[in-house]
């Protein structure tokens, strides 16, 4: 098998495994997995910018929230149905990421991190400030009647699981494809050595801007899907915490690997889930595991696998 065939088998295998999991796992874990898949879409979006382009953003909660509130508010205020509301969620994430990308890409390194953090913080505060519409921290519930798409009731466990799986599969395969394309290769070249990429004649700023927009839109898609599938939008999802989460997931799973985001989310989710059933001090366990992982698995879980076993993994 060639490397690209191997990676196709890997990606389709992961999707097949997730589809089979629905029939094998008990209800509780099926519920968890649908949440994990939506969050993994968020992590995939983040990984595209951080893992492949090498830009560390701390403001992705803004894009996640843009998708979430774009969908939620257009349902709440204009009584739109789920499909156009989803489109509005995507459009708002796209617009906001284009504007933020345009401004923040004037900087690089730590300044980029802080500028994105500041914009996200301004976004979070705005959600609080316009509390009359957004209901601030408290958030609002999306009615079950609004959560029907193409005749499927997404509040139903089965529909929700497969909707999440379809969404995840699309993003997963699309990104796996994209990073193998000339565009993706150029982004990796920028990550490795921006000066050289520029010297070779690539317009690095335009490439990075595209990467921010793609990453932000996928993150927004995850936010919109989260609101649609779980029926809730709240300002918590716009806090710094939600910008740090995808960074953690991606670093744990393996930055710059296609399956890293999924592995990272599963690992972190079950780490907190399992340790909180043992002790109330689950944060302590999470902290210790994070430190141990940085000490012993510097490339993240998938990254270590790639280094040691699957050298061909994209």
């Amino acid at each position: 098998m060639t490397d690209s065939q191997r990676s196709n088998v890997l990606h389709l295998g992961v999707i097949a495994l997730l589809a089979v999991a629905f029939f094998i796992l008990p209800t509780y874990h099926v519920g968890n997995l649908s949440r994990i898949m939506v969050l993994a879409v968020y992590a995939i979006g983040y990984n595209f910018l951080f893992g492949y382009t090498g830009l560390l953003s701390l403001g992705h909660a803004l894009f996640f929230a843009a998708g979430m509130y774009g969908l939620g508010l257009s349902m709440e205020l204009f009584d739109l149905t789920s499909a156009p509301a989803l489109a509005i969620g995507l459009a708002s994430a796209l617009t906001i990421s284009a504007v933020i990308g345009f401004l923040a890409l004037r900087t690089s390194g730590v300044s980029f991190m802080i500028v994105t953090l500041m914009f996200a913080q301004a976004g979070y505060l705005s959600i609080l400030y316009f509390g009359t519409y957004t209901r601030g921290d408290e958030g609002f519930v999306i009615q079950q009647a609004d959560r029907v798409m193409f005749g499927l009731d997404l509040s139903n466990d089965t529909a929700r699981y497969f909707a999440a799986l379809v969404l995840f599969s699309i993003c997963f395969l699309a990104i796996a494809r994209l990073v193998q394309s000339p565009f993706g290769r150029t982004l990796i070249a920028i990550r490795e050595n921006e000066e050289r990429a520029r010297m070779l004649g690539y317009n690095t700023v335009a490439h990075k801007l595209k990467a921010v927009v793609i990453s932000g839109t996928i993150s927004g898609l995850a936010g919109a899907a989260y609101a649609l599938l779980f029926g809730y939008a709240g300002a918590t999802f716009a806090t710094v915490q939600y910008s740090i989460f995808p960074l953690l997931w991606v670093l744990l799973g393996g930055a710059g690997t296609t399956i890293g985001p999924l592995i990272g989310v599963i690992f972190m989710f079950y780490l907190i889930d399992l340790s909180s059933s043992i002790t109330s001090a689950y944060m302590l366990i999470a902290g210790v595991v994070l430190v141990l992982l940085t000490l012993f698995a510097p490339q993240g879980l998938a990254g270590e696998l790639r280094k040691r076993v699957f050298k061909w993994m994209p």
Binding site: L103, I114, A122, Y129, V291
Partner: protein
């Protein structure tokens, strides 16, 4: 009260914020400047400083000043030692790799926060200020009878708040003297400029890093000990100072110490003034947007040298 006295009051409150912020941000700035490490757990070191200050003062009876002075000595020392140990056990082992440092310090943040919650509890606890006289401030006005001085009602500050401002100035001056005039400062600056050459000249770079990390955390703890008599100690109190300190360090120019102080004054004062005259949330939105814009158009910060 008229506009003038209001403004004076807001500026004084802002100056207290600026003083604490300058100390906290300075710790972050030194660590970043010398070690190139973004310490996400900095806010937790600040929180630990406040919590230890509460412990010390609650153990010591008698006049509140005794406990406070002890806390001012003990808390930064304990926090500094803890940070130095964390550096030796974790950060040194991962070779200060930027991404892994961020994950490791996030892990450290969780560990410190949870441990504090388990031992100290979720309540906010007050610390008695060592002295707290209310000082009425005069205001001058040029009226019908010429130049007149009066004491508007409500225009006052406590002696403790004045002390915080003066203490911060004193500590920062001492720090500046150490860095620019002493052998220790010379070693620090040599490590900052070029750690490999410094190593070749016999500077124990690893030990310098360890103590610089400790010093940075210690400065956050000093800021926290000074703040607890005004705000209470709470296990989640590290979040806001971390964000503010980050902004300050970046605005001032990465690793530039005078820039950090100037930025702390700007941010502290404007925070005080804007939130007195406008809605605090709106003030924060405007302030964060302005900061983001300033950085987008002047990425090297106020006093930073340009990146390349």
């Amino acid at each position: 009260m008229d506009f003038g006295p209001h403004l004076l009051l807001a500026s004084l409150e802002g100056a207290v914020t600026a003083a604490i912020l300058a100390l906290t941000a300075m710790g972050l700035s030194i660590v970043f400047g010398v070690m190139r490490v973004v310490n996400v757990a900095h806010g937790e070191f600040y929180m630990l400083g406040a919590v230890i200050a509460w412990w010390v003062t609650s153990l010591i009876g008698g006049h509140p000043a005794i406990g406070f002075i002890l806390a001012l000595g003990i808390a930064p020392l304990v926090v500094g030692l803890l940070a130095a140990t964390a550096d030796k056990l974790i950060l040194q082992k991962i070779n200060y790799d930027p991404d892994r440092t961020i994950v490791a310090t996030i892990g450290l943040l969780y560990i410190i926060q949870q441990t504090t919650l388990m031992t100290f509890g979720p309540d906010a606890r007050p610390v008695q200020p060592p002295f707290n006289t209310r000082l009425a401030l005069p205001w001058f006005e040029y009226g019908e009878n010429g130049f007149a001085m009066f004491w508007p009602w409500g225009l006052s500050i406590t002696s403790y708040k004045l002390f915080v401002i003066i203490a911060a100035i004193g500590i920062l001056t001492a720090l500046w003297l150490v860095i620019t005039r002493s052998k220790i400062g010379l070693i620090m600056r040599a490590t900052q400029l070029d750690s490999e050459t410094a190593l070749a000249f016999g500077v124990p770079v690893e030990r310098v890093y360890m103590w610089v990390f400790g010093l940075g955390a210690g400065l956050a703890a000093v800021g926290a000990v000074l703040v607890v008599p005004i705000q209470q100690a709470h296990y989640l109190m590290g979040h806001d100072p971390l964000l503010l300190a980050f902004i300050t360090v970046i605005i001032g120019g990465l690793g530039s110490l005078p820039g950090t102080v100037i930025a702390a004054i700007l941010i502290g004062m404007s925070d005080g003034i804007i939130s007195v005259f406008f809605s605090p949330t709106l003030a924060k939105i405007i302030a964060t947007l302005v900061v983001a814009m300033v950085l987008a158009f002047r990425p090297q910060g106020l006093l930073g040298r340009s990146a390349h």
